[in-house]
Amino acid sequence: MSSNPSQTSARAVPWRRAEPTTAHGPRFGIVGSLVFHALVVAAALFSFRNFHTPQETHMVPVDLVTLADTTNVAAQAPPAPPKPEPEKIDIPTPQLEPPPEPQLAEVAPAPDAKMPEFDVAKEKPKPEPKPEPKPEPEKPKLTRKQQQQQDFAALLNKLTAQPKRPANAKAGPRVIQGIGAGTAMTADLADVLQSQIYRCWSPPVGAPDADDLIVDYDLRLNPDGSVASLALLPGSARAASGNSYTRAAAEAASRAVYQCAPYRLPADRYSLWRDVNPLHFDPRQLMQQ
């Protein structure tokens, strides 16, 4: 930023008309420049303060360390089949138009192959599809699952209970800045939420290129943990490219979000989990297993 237009007016920019130096000119320039710089620096410090945030600084207060550890372990354990609780789901039903007319697709009859049938075998009676056991959505089948649910219940009780500092807690050796919203703590919330979503997530892992399956959503939640809205982020992977694998991946992620709702999160911290953005789905690790 040039400080004084009079210095550069005639020489450096000859085609620019020289402005006369007024009595207010220099004073205004210096003061204005100083004020403006100070404001810009202040604004930058204020806005980009997270630039100084060390990478490893997930804020994990002492009384929440156990929670983060537990949820991390659960996330890496072999996942148990999810048991949705559909009766609790309260998804705003969109207004539906009458279904569009089906597309027409005339199918040519199969080639009527004339084959020398020396010994035509009788078609074996196909086994009828085995009747699936009647779904019992609320009844967990696996002991492991029960255990996980109990773990979760315990965790959530802990979360929703009034935060209370354990007797043996002590201050950490250094100050760790929070990430996410302002001064609030969100690392544990991200853990809790992802560990509830991943159980319902079954991405189309047969795709040849795993990068096609990475999608991002903006998820808005209601205070009761149900889904208020779910929107695919436009910059998400190749979502805009019309890639059929990406579309399948986006739909699989969407199904997971709805299926595992409502989410059990601490009500007193609703302001921190009301908006989840980005909700990032990346199955590359899963496909390498």
Binding site: S47, L189, Y198, P204, R255, P278, D282, P283
Partner: protein, 436 residues
């Protein structure tokens, strides 16, 4: 001056306001729980009372197709809460959510006055409460099974993002009789095992049948007259012809992706090499010349390269060369003997048979030999063939203590291994492209 300060203040306010706006919770989901998709497929509604049976049959075939893929879990119709009475109205999604369905297929079949069968169906996203697909087919009444497979393919493609493979056929060698006097006949059936038909009468042995790209022609090796030669079999006419007139054995044929050429092995004085025959002028071009046994050629889907097996280096290994025979190089270095390479229709992988000790297993690797992994672990699994979508494989399996061989299928991930029903024992399956 005042204006300038005001401007600065506005700027500062703007910056500070941007802070709280970014305060959304960021969540990464990198672990998943691959599970078959629960899908509800009620019997297709009859357009007239006389259509009830075919409506039931079509839904039953669609359920069986999707279940067999391992990617879907068709739910038991007895548990359905809503009774679909009209496929042109929006279903009550909540009632399908309560039975854990994530997909719903509603359909209707109606016999037309001209004798054709009209099949309409819709695929619904239960959680998204929207229609994902709506299609209508007309066909001859006796083709209801094919239409059912087409419905399955459309659902599979819409949900997974990749083409289906249910409207396909399998050609294979049907085996019967005692081990020392085994009768081997060429046979063909639908992908689900329905409509099996023998194409040859068993008076001569047949081996290694392979489809051409239109699934109308089969190349195979036969011992007609006691001489092992490669033959072509026209499925439509039943006509067969010997491919070329050579004094010595020809074997291991496979069509090029455009169907105009056949790669095969020709044996001369105990040495076999890979050749390409142009079917339009029957000209033969020799691709390998070394004194080892070169055989089992398989084209890449772009037709530019050929994978084959050779023992030129002292053990049976997989090699890749350009289609003109140049740049022959070994790609299998994962231990054991490796053979019968088959290029995936998707081009990303080669399936092969690995022999280690007394075991034979099916594996896949990239065309440059990297990323080798075994996807079956049986006693004797060999001869893989790809589904046209490059996602599923079939192969021949023999098990200890069991007489005769069977055909099995497995997902390329190694999951969902299951037996393919054949009339009697069977071997050497070859998967057709999607029927045109």
């Amino acid at each position: 001056m005042k204006k300038f300060l005001v401007l600065c203040a506005i700027l500062l306010l703007g910056f500070s306001a941007a802070g709280p706006a970014r305060a959304a919770l960021s969540v990464d989901v990198t672990q998943g729980n691959p599970q078959p998709l629960p899908i509800a497929i009620p019997d297709f509604l009859p357009g007239t009372p006389a259509d009830a049976q075919v409506g039931t049959n079509i839904a039953s075939v669609v359920r069986a197709d999707l279940e067999r893929s391992g990617l879907f879990k068709p739910l038991d119709p007895r548990g359905f809460v809503e009774h679909i009475t009209n496929i042109n109205t929006v279903p009550n999604f909540q009632s399908w959510r309560t039975i854990t369905a994530q997909g719903l297929v509603t359909g209707q079949v109606t016999m037309q006055p001209d004798g054709r069968l009209r099949v309409d169906f819709r695929l619904w996203d239960v959680y998204g409460a929207s229609q994902m697909l709506g299609l209508q087919y007309f066909t001859q009444a006796e083709n209801w099974r094919r239409v059912a497979h087409m419905v399955s393919d459309a659902i599979y493609e819409r949900i997974t993002g990749e083409k289906g493979y249910f409207d396909t056929r399998i050609v294979f060698v049907a085996e019967s009789g005692p081990a020392l006097k085994r009768v081997k006949r060429l046979a063909i059936m639908d992908e689900d095992g329905a409509n099996p038909i023998f194409l040859t009468n068993g008076s001569y042995m047949v081996l290694t049948p392979r489809f051409n790209p239109t699934a109308q022609m089969i190349a195979y090796m036969s011992y007609i007259g006691g001489k092992p030669r490669v033959y072509l079999f026209d499925i439509e006419t039943g006509r067969q012809e010997r491919l070329g007139d050579f004094p010595n054995m020809t074997f291991s044929p496979r069509f090029s992706p455009d169907g105009n050429r056949v790669a095969l092995s020709l044996e001369t004085n105990g040495n076999s090499d890979v050749y390409i025959m142009d079917l339009r002028n029957r000209a033969m071009q020799r691709l390998t010349t070394d004194p080892g046994i070169d055989t089992a050629p398989s084209f890449s889907p772009d037709g530019r390269q050929i994978a084959f097996e050779s023992d030129r280096g002292g053990s049976q290994q997989i090699y890749v060369m350009n289609v003109d025979g140049s740049n022959q190089h070994r790609i299998s270095f994962g231990g054991g003997n490796n053979g019968t390479p088959v290029w995936s229709p998707r081009g990303d992988l080669l399936a092969f048979t690995k022999q280690h000790g007394n075991n034979f297993d099916i594996g896949v690797m990239r065309p440059d030999g990297s990323g080798e992994r075994m996807i079956t672990s049986g006693y004797h699994d060999e001869g893989p063939t790809w589904a046209p979508n490059g996602r599923v494989l079939m192969f021949t399996r023999e098990m200890p203590g069991q007489r005769g061989s069977q055909i099995w299928s497995v997902d390329v991930t190694g999951r969902n291994e299951r037996r393919v029903l054949t009339p009697g024992n069977a071997s050497d399956p070859a998967w057709s492209p999607l029927i045109q």
